[in-house]
C-alpha cells in the first residue's frame, strides 16, 4: 500500500519535472527570439537613416585633420599634400571601423556579435582596468548596479508583503488608512526622493555621503570597505524603498483582501484554524502568482529608473556608464548598454516565469 503511494508520488514528481523542463525550454526559446528581435530593433533605432554614420564621419574627419595640423612634422607640407594625407588617414579610420560596408550588412554583423555579447570596442572610453572592450567596460559596472538594485528590490518585496498581510488583517484601522493615503506618493520616481534625501542627510545634516560608492581612498581592510559601501548605499536604497513601498503595500493588501473574503478562507476560519496557517496556506498561496506578476512589472520599471538614480547618486553602475557614454557619443557603448539592459530584462522575465510555473500548479499539471 505504502509502496504504491510512494510510487505514484515519484511518478508525479517525475511528471512535474518533465513538464517544468518542457515549459522552461519553450520559454527559453521564446525569450531568445524575443531578445533577437529586441536587439535588432535597438540597432536599427541607433542607426536610423545612417545618422550615426554621418556623426562618426564628421568626428573622424575633425580628429584626423586636427591631428595632422597639430603635428609639427607636417607643418611645412604644401596644403594639397596635407589634404591628401588627411584623406588617407580618414580612409584608414573608416576601414578600421568598417564604415565602408553597407549598413544592412553591418547591422546583421552587429546583431550576431551582440547576441554573443561580443559588443565590439569602445571608440573613446575604457574600463578602469584599461580595456577598450565594451563587454569589459559594462561587466565592470554590472556588480555595482546589481548590488544596489538587488538589495532595494528584496527589501521592498519582503517588507511590503509582510506589512500588507498584517494590514489586511487590520483592515480599516488608522494605520491601514494612513498607508492607503500615502500610496499616491509613489507617483514620484526614486531619483526624485533621492534629491531630497541628499539635501537632508548630506547637506542640511551632514551625516551621510552625497554620492559615490566608497570613500576616496578606499579603505584597505575588507570589512571597513564593506561597511563603507553600506554607508554609501543607504541613501539610494532608501530612495528606492520610499518610492516603491507604499504602492506595493497598497496593491498587495488589495489582493489579500479580495482573497481573504473567498469562501474557502471563510471555511478555514469556521474550522477554527490559526491565523498564521490561514495566511500562509489559504491567502498567500493562491495570491502568489499575481504578486509575482506585479513584482515583475515593478522590477522592469526599476531597471529604467536605475539610470537616473545612479546619475543622481553618482553610483558607478550601468546607468552612470550610459550617461558617460552619452557625453562621449560612444555609440558602441550606448548600444552595448541598451543590449545589456535588454538581456537583464529578459533574464528577469525568465526567472519570474520559472517561479510562476513552480508556483502555479496548472502549468505543472495541465501540461501546456
Amino acid at each position: 500500500m505504502t509502496t504504491a503511494t510512494e510510487g505514484t508520488r515519484a511518478q508525479g514528481l517525475r511528471r512535474d519535472v518533465r513538464r517544468l523542463g518542457l515549459f522552461t525550454a519553450k520559454r527559453l526559446l521564446a525569450l531568445f527570439l524575443t531578445i533577437l528581435v529586441g536587439v535588432y530593433l535597438t540597432i536599427l533605432i541607433a542607426n536610423m537613416g545612417g545618422r550615426v554614420d554621418d556623426l562618426r564621419m564628421v568626428q573622424i574627419q575633425g580628429e584626423v585633420s586636427e591631428m595632422v595640423r597639430g603635428d609639427p612634422a607636417f607643418q611645412d607640407m604644401p596644403s594639397e599634400e596635407r589634404n591628401a594625407l588627411v584623406q588617407r588617414q580618414v580612409d584608414l579610420e573608416v576601414e578600421r571601423l568598417r564604415l565602408d560596408q553597407p549598413f544592412i550588412v553591418r547591422s546583421f554583423d552587429y546583431l550576431h556579435r551582440a547576441m554573443l555579447l561580443d559588443l565590439g570596442r569602445a571608440e573613446q572610453m575604457h574600463s578602469d582596468s584599461g580595456s577598450r572592450d565594451v563587454y569589459d567596460i559594462i561587466v565592470e559596472r554590472l556588480p555595482a548596479t546589481l548590488l544596489l538594485f538587488g538589495t532595494a528590490n528584496f527589501l521592498v518585496f519582503f517588507f511590503s508583503v509582510y506589512i500588507a498581510l498584517s494590514l489586511s488583517r487590520r483592515y480599516g484601522s488608522m494605520l491601514d488608512r494612513s498607508v492607503i493615503a500615502l500610496a499616491p506618493s509613489s507617483a514620484a520616481p526614486a531619483w526624485f526622493y533621492g534629491i531630497f534625501l541628499i539635501l537632508l542627510f548630506a547637506f542640511v545634516l551632514p551625516v551621510l555621503p552625497s554620492g559615490g560608492m566608497v570613500q576616496a581612498p578606499p579603505p584597505e581592510n575588507p570589512l571597513h570597505y564593506a561597511l563603507d559601501v553600506l554607508r554609501h548605499m543607504l541613501l539610494p536604497v532608501l530612495a528606492m524603498f520610499l518610492s516603491q513601498i507604499f504602492i506595493s503595500i497598497y496593491s498587495w493588501r488589495t489582493f489579500f483582501l479580495i482573497h481573504s473574503s473567498e469562501d474557502y478562507v471563510e471555511m478555514a476560519r469556521a474550522k477554527g484554524l490559526p491565523d498564521n496557517l490561514i495566511e500562509r496556506r489559504y491567502i498567500l498561496r493562491p495570491t502568489l502568482s499575481p504578486i509575482i506578476t506585479s513584482f515583475l512589472l515593478m522590477l522592469i520599471g526599476l531597471w529604467s529608473g536605475a539610470i537616473i538614480l545612479e546619475q543622481v547618486f553618482n553610483w558607478p553602475g550601468l546607468g552612470t556608464l550610459l550617461f558617460q557614454a552619452i557625453g562621449h557619443r560612444d555609440t558602441p557603448v550606448i548600444i552595448g548598454s541598451v543590449v545589456i539592459f535588454a538581456y537583464l530584462l529578459a533574464i528577469t522575465v525568465f526567472l519570474l516565469d520559472i517561479l510562476y510555473a513552480v508556483l502555479d500548479p496548472r502549468i505543472r499539471i495541465g501540461g501546456d
Binding site: A30, T34, I35, V37, G38, L41, T42, I45, A46, M48, R51, V52, L55, Y171, A181, A183, P184, S185, S186, A187, A188, P189, W191, F192, I195, F196, I198, L199, A202, F203, S210, Y250, T254, L257, I258, S261, L297, I300, W303, S304, G305, I307, I308, Q311, V312, L322, F323, I326, R329, T331, I334, I335, S337, V338, F341, A342, L345, A346, V349
Partner: protein, 443 residues
C-alpha cells in the same frame, strides 16, 4: 450605476477632492501662464542674455528670507533720469553733476554693485569721475573712466578699491567704518554716488544706472544666468501637463485599438500582437530615449513620439485583452454583425467604448509617470533645447551644484511643483480606481 453617478460619487473621497483641486490649480496656472507670457516671449526670455542684466545672480526667493526673519536686500536701481542733474555749459561742451541717491535699509549687503553708463551720439568719449558719499559723511573717490556708447563699471570687481577698503567693494562701501573682514555690519541710511561728467558735445545724451544687486528676488529667485526662475516654473506647468496628457492619451488609445484589433480578428493577428508585446517588454524605454536624444534631437515632440511609439505594444495590452475577450461573443456585437457592421466599426464603436470607463483610473495615474519621464530626461541633460521646463531647472541646479552652495530654493521649487502634479493625478486616479473597479468597491 450611471457614469455620472460614479463621478458625483467622487465627492465622497477626500483624496479625490484634493486631487481635483490640485489639477484645477495646475490647469488655471497653465492658462494664466500661456496668456501672460506668450510662447515666443518665454523662449526669448529663457535664452537669457542682456535682458536680465538688472537681475541678481542666484538670489533666493523673497518669502524664504522673510519667513526665516531675514532682511536681505532686494535689487535697487537708481537711475540718472530721476536725479536732480546740475548742468554747467562751457565752450565746446557741458559739465554734468549727477547725484545718484540710495536709501539703503536692508539687513545685509548687496550681492554685487554695477554702474551702467550709456552715452549716445558722442564723437569724443565723455569722461566721468565717481565719488561715493556715506551717511556718516565719509567721501571715497572711486576713480574716473572714459565712457563708451554702452559701458559698465563693475564696482564689485575694482581690485584697487578692494585693497583700499580691505573688503570686497560692495561690502566695504556700505559697511560701518573700521569693519573687520568677515564681521562687517551694514550702515543703513542715505548714500550718494556722485558722477562728475564732462561731455565734449552739448546736445548728446548721457544716462547712468547704479544697480545694487539684491540677495533675494521675487517669488522664485534667480539662477546662475540671472534669469528669473518664475519663467521656467510657470512655463513648466503647461509643458508638463501637455506632455503627460498627450503621452497618456497617445499610448492608451493606440494600445486599446491594437488590443481590440487583436481580440476581434484573433488568429495570427492576435499572435503577432502578443509576440510584439513580449519583445516590447524587454526593450528598455529610458535607455532608448537616451539613445534617441543623443543621436537625433532632444526636441520634446520627438521624445513624445518615441514614448508613444514604444508605448503602443506596452504591457497594458494583456490587461485590455483579458477585458475584451468576453465581449467578442456578446449579444450586442452579434446584433451589430447582423445589420452588417464592418470590422472597423465593431472595433471602434462597439468594443472600445465598452471598456473605456474601466480605463479612466489607469489613464489618470499614467499622466504623472510621463510628467516625471520628461523631467528625468531633462535631469540627464536631454531636455528640450529651447523650452523652459521644471526638469531643466533641476538639471541646471545639479550642474551648478546648487545643494553644495546651499541654493536650496533652486532644487526645491521645481521639485515641489513636480510633486504637486504627481500627487494631484495619483490621488484622483486612486479614488477613481476604487469607484470604477467593482472588486475594490466591495471592500
Amino acid at each position: 450605476m450611471g457614469r455620472f453617478a460614479a463621478l458625483s460619487e467622487l465627492r465622497n473621497y477626500p483624496s479625490a477632492v484634493v486631487g481635483m483641486a490640485i489639477i484645477a490649480f495646475l490647469i488655471a496656472l497653465s492658462v494664466y501662464t500661456v496668456i501672460t507670457i506668450p510662447y515666443a516671449d518665454a523662449l526669448d526670455k529663457w535664452r537669457g542674455g542682456e535682458q536680465w542684466r538688472l537681475h541678481p545672480v542666484n538670489a533666493s526667493p523673497v518669502w524664504a528670507d522673510r519667513l526665516t526673519g531675514g532682511r536681505a536686500p532686494e535689487t535697487q536701481v537708481v537711475s540718472s533720469r530721476d536725479a536732480a542733474i546740475e548742468r554747467q555749459p562751457f565752450e565746446g561742451g557741458e559739465r554734468l553733476h549727477i547725484p545718484l541717491q540710495v536709501n539703503y535699509q536692508a539687513g545685509d549687503f548687496p550681492s554685487e554693485m554695477t554702474l551702467f553708463l550709456s552715452a549716445e551720439g558722442h564723437e569724443r568719449e565723455p569722461f566721468a569721475r565717481l565719488v561715493w558719499r556715506t551717511p556718516d559723511g565719509r567721501e571715497l573717490a572711486l576713480g574716473g573712466t572714459r565712457v563708451a556708447t554702452q559701458d559698465r563699471v563693475s564696482i564689485s570687481q575694482d581690485r584697487s578699491l578692494e585693497q583700499r577698503l580691505g573688503l570686497v567693494p560692495h561690502i566695504g562701501l556700505l559697511a560701518t567704518p573700521d569693519s573687520e573682514p568677515g564681521a562687517a555690519e551694514v550702515l543703513t541710511g542715505d548714500y550718494e554716488l556722485t558722477l562728475d561728467v564732462i561731455l565734449f558735445q552739448e546736445d548728446a545724451g548721457f544716462e547712468a544706472d547704479l544697480v545694487l544687486y539684491g540677495r533675494v528676488h521675487g517669488l522664485a529667485g534667480t539662477d546662475h544666468q540671472r534669469r528669473d526662475l518664475m519663467v521656467a516654473l510657470m512655463w513648466g506647468t503647461p509643458v508638463a501637463l501637455a506632455f503627460g496628457l498627450l503621452a497618456a492619451v497617445g499610448t492608451t488609445i493606440t494600445t486599446l485599438i491594437i488590443a481590440a484589433t487583436g481580440v476581434w480578428f484573433g488568429g495570427w493577428v492576435d499572435a503577432t500582437i502578443q509576440r510584439l508585446t513580449e519583445v516590447n517588454m524587454i526593450l528598455p524605454l529610458l535607455p532608448i530615449l537616451v539613445m534617441v536624444g543623443t543621436l537625433y534631437s532632444t526636441s520634446i515632440w520627438l521624445m513624445l513620439g518615441v514614448v508613444v511609439a514604444l508605448g503602443i505594444f506596452s504591457a497594458g495590452i494583456k490587461m485590455y485583452r483579458a477585458m475584451l475577450l468576453p465581449l467578442r461573443q456578446a449579444a450586442y456585437i452579434e446584433a451589430a454583425l447582423a445589420y452588417g457592421a464592418g470590422n472597423t466599426r465593431i472595433i471602434l464603436r462597439y468594443m472600445i467604448p465598452r471598456i473605456l470607463p474601466v480605463l479612466i483610473p489607469t489613464f489618470v495615474t499614467l499622466i504623472p509617470t510621463f510628467v516625471f519621464l520628461e523631467a528625468s530626461l531633462a535631469v540627464l541633460g536631454l531636455g528640450d533645447p529651447v523650452l523652459p521646463t521644471w526638469g531643466k531647472v533641476l538639471n541646471d541646479a545639479q550642474s551648478e551644484s546648487a545643494l553644495y552652495s546651499q541654493y536650496y530654493y533652486w532644487v526645491l521649487s521645481p521639485a515641489f511643483l513636480l510633486m504637486l502634479t504627481g500627487l494631484g493625478f495619483a490621488m484622483l486616479g486612486f479614488a477613481l480606481d476604487r469607484i470604477f473597479n467593482p472588486r475594490l468597491r466591495a471592500l
